[in-house]
Amino acid sequence: MGTPCHFALFELQPGFNLDLDQLAVRYRELARGVHPDRFADASEREQRLALEQSASLNEAYQTLKSPAKRARYLLALKGGELPLEVTVHDPEFLMQQMQWREELEDLHDSADMAGIAAFKRRLKVAQEQLNDSFAACWDDAAQREQAERLMRRMQFLDKLTYEVRQLEERLDD
């Protein structure tokens, strides 16, 4: 939608390692300036402007806040749009995925809440490892392929985390 770079909006240099607390502080400062509540009695045009600015600010914040989305965004900034769906050539990770999925199914069948908590902790560790690996290679053009692979792994882990949450919800019934 023709918005400037998300990092620029927060006056940051594009990079993967971000101080999330600081990002949140900055987000709140910026939101104060452009939120439609400040324009409740302003002209229609100004209200629309505030709505658009707020929406792009929120979008930027959401993107930068999530490691997977931030990673994807950085790669897109560097080398053009990435297709959402691709056939992934990552046999090693494919094995890992299948293993996790099986575990999730077992947890579902056994309705093991403690097991789910432990599973979640392991996913978190895996996520942090991925973040570190991505931070080390995304900026290197020679490692682009590896960076994309890592980014897709991050996306998968996000999805899996979401599925765990859904499982928790189902078991809560």
Binding site: M1, E11, Q13, L30, A50, Y61, Q62, R165, D172
Partner: protein, 620 residues
């Protein structure tokens, strides 16, 4: 206008001219209006000193009765007396039938599939019924505050969907109220508490009203209220407790299940009284006709346990959605009259591991918070700095895709305002039109989601299947209301709609109701409109003058400044007369020529917000 005022943090141009604004809690059982008076937010009372207005509307042939007296007539005149109308807002006839046999009204279908209640004054939509309640509150406020209202903040359950929100806004419009913002009830409650205690940290707001249950998790940081997650059940409330007792009475007394509406009302009133008595007493005597029995609190607790459990489940889900652990919640606020039930308090305390806060009257806390926000939105600056409320959408928004599936475009708990686009393509050669079906809900099958609207994008140039690129953009504003546009990117063909929910009123219906409303029939309206234009014009002039003083030199060249001053001069001249239309037009003109100036000042503010704290990093 507000934009032009950004850089003058001091006082408003004319501090003595306080703009009157109120917060309204339009509740299922009771409604309230509150306002800021000498720095304190408080509910406004009627002539008899009552702050609570029962949300009951009784239609007589020649007049409308609202409040306690109407509520008392519910048993004797069930068809013409509407209670708990909030449960019908934004609902279709079929939804309403699902709500149960409990509703004694005679329904007739309207042009918009909204259920109309057949009364002695003819069919009335839930929107009109709600508007009657709002009118009474508006009049009360104008009388108490001694002037016309600039606007109102009206609260809605956080869990209200688009249709329910739109219906609420329509009701306000019908009541002659300018809606400054629809505010989620839990957020309003947080504001009421947050200001008093200048709290920081994560809070949970547990709001059990007459007909709805809401749970919200918020993070409070220096005057910013960020909703992390919200959830609930738009058909769970204290009314259900009454129904549980009533069903028990029916079973115990051996009554037949299909009672006439009047008896049913009497029964429910007895049930409600028993529930309230059990807040302090451990048992209560209940009677119906010749039948008598004792209801213990233990038995009552057991009856409502499934409902309490449902509310706790929603709490757990909200905590998960907020990506926090239950231990992270530092305070729990109780809202809504139904949180007086001891079992409810106990269960909530158990779950969060801490005693919930009940310092502010749970019936009043929402209106009190809404009034604080209304005052800010009306442009009255507060000493303690402005608050900022960052709310979320409660339910995911999406589109129907092939195979009757819902594809989410904006997931629930996304901060608003938000705009998001999704691209689609044609699936047939030569296809020139595409149906866009907008949905709200969490389930995968569209039949399990709420249909918000359907519209068609026509005039797509014929191409082979898959060649057209159709971008559908969703935009949700700060009230949580959705508008959708679709555009074929190659040809630029476009279609827009402000989503008018399938169960909302059509624009035609609203226009007719407004015309019919006697409030608008009198000359009063002309005078009122003129005054509004005068006030708007005056405010704009003051704002522009103040802005010119601060930033005129550095942001405008001589010619731009001259044009602005000329338009301002013309507007000042017109203000001496009484031509409302001319004033309105000239105000628009002045607003237009200051647009670029306003935009530059907005950029400056954004930069100013960034400077200071992070200079080191910007300069590397």
């Amino acid at each position: 206008m507000a934009l032009l005022q950004i850089a003058e943090p001091g006082q408003s141009p004319q501090p003595h001219q306080r703009r009157l604004a109120v917060g309204i809690d339009l509740g299922t059982t009771n409604s309230l209006v509150a306002a800021l008076r000498s720095g304190l937010s408080e509910p406004l009372a009627d002539a008899n000193g009552n702050v609570i207005l029962p949300s009951a509307v009784r239609y007589h042939a020649d007049r409308v009765e609202v409040g306690e007296s109407a509520r008392l007539a519910a048993s004797s005149d069930p068809f013409n007396t509407v209670l708990s109308v909030k449960r019908l807002m934004g609902r279709g006839l079929s939804d309403v039938k699902q709500l149960g046999e409990q509703l004694p009204y005679r329904f007739v279908g309207g042009e918009s599939h909204m259920p109309f209640i057949d009364t002695v004054q003819g069919p009335k939509s839930p929107v009109e019924v709600s508007a009657e309640i709002l009118k009474v509150l508006r009049e009360r406020a104008e009388k108490t505050l001694g002037g016309e209202l600039v606007g109102a903040v009206i609260t809605v359950p956080a869990y209200f969907d688009d249709a329910q929100r739109q219906a609420t806004k329509d009701a306000a419009k019908l009541a002659g109220l300018n809606v400054l913002r629809l505010l989620n009830e839990p957020t309003a409650a947080a504001v009421a508490y947050g200001l008093d205690q200048s709290a920081e940290g994560v809070v949970a707001i547990y709001d059990l009203g007459g007909g709805t249950f809401d749970i919200s998790i918020l993070r409070l940081t220096g005057g910013v209220f960020e909703v992390l997650a919200t959830g609930g059940d738009s058909a769970l409330g204290g009314d259900d407790f009454d129904h549980a007792i009533a069903s028990w009475m029916v079973a115990q007394a051996g009554l037949s299940a299909d009672l006439d509406p009047g008896t049913q009302r009497t029964l429910l009133q007895a049930a409600c009284a028993a529930k309230e008595a059990l807040t302090d007493a451990s048992s209560v005597a209940v009677a119906f006709g010749d039948w008598q029995a004792e209801l213990t609190r233990e038995a009552f607790d057991a009856m409502i346990e499934p409902m309490v459990a449902r509310s706790l489940k929603a709490c757990r889900r909200a905590v998960r959605d907020a990506n926090i652990e239950i231990e992270d919640v530092q305070a729990v606020v109780m809202v809504g009259g139904s949180t007086r039930v001891p079992r409810v308090r106990e269960a909530v305390a158990e779950m969060f591991g801490r005693e919930p806060l009940t310092d502010i009257d749970p019936d009043q806390v929402v209106a009190i918070g809404a009034a604080i926000q209304a005052d800010t939105l009306a442009g009255n600056k507060r000493d303690g700095g402005e608050l900022l409320l960052l709310d979320v959408i409660p339910l995911s928004l999406g589109l129907e895709t092939m195979g009757g599936l819902m594809e989410k475009v904006i997931p629930r708990n996304t901060t608003i305002p938000v705009a998001r686009a999704q691209d689609f393509t044609t699936y047939k050669d030569g296809q020139t039109a595409m149906m866009i079906h907008v949905l709200q809900g969490e389930r995968e099958l569209i039949s399990d989601c709420r249909s918000l609207a359907r519209f068609e994008l026509r005039g797509i140039p014929p191409m082979v299947a898959g060649a057209a690129k159709i971008r559908v953009t969703f935009q949700v504003d700060a009230d949580g209301l959705l508008s959708v546009s679709a555009r074929e990117l190659g040809s630029g063909v476009e279609a827009n709609i402000q989503v008018k929910p399938s169960y909302g009123l059509t624009d035609g219906e609203i226009a007719k109701m407004l015309k019919d409303s006697f409030q608008y029939a009198s000359d009063d309206k002309v005078a009122r409109v003129l005054r509004e234009h005068q006030v708007d014009a005056q405010r704009l002039i003051e704002a522009v003058q103040a802005a010119l003083e601060v930033d005129g030199e550095r942001l405008l060249d001589a010619e731009e400044r001259m044009v602005i001053e000329l338009r301002m001069q013309e507007l000042s001249e017109l203000l001496k007369g009484t031509d409302g239309y001319a004033i309105e037009q000239q105000t628009k003109r002045l607003s237009q020529v200051t647009d670029a100036f306003a935009a530059r000042r907005m950029d400056l503010t954004v930069k100013a917000a960034l400077s200071g704290r992070n200079l080191n990093e910007i300069e590397e």
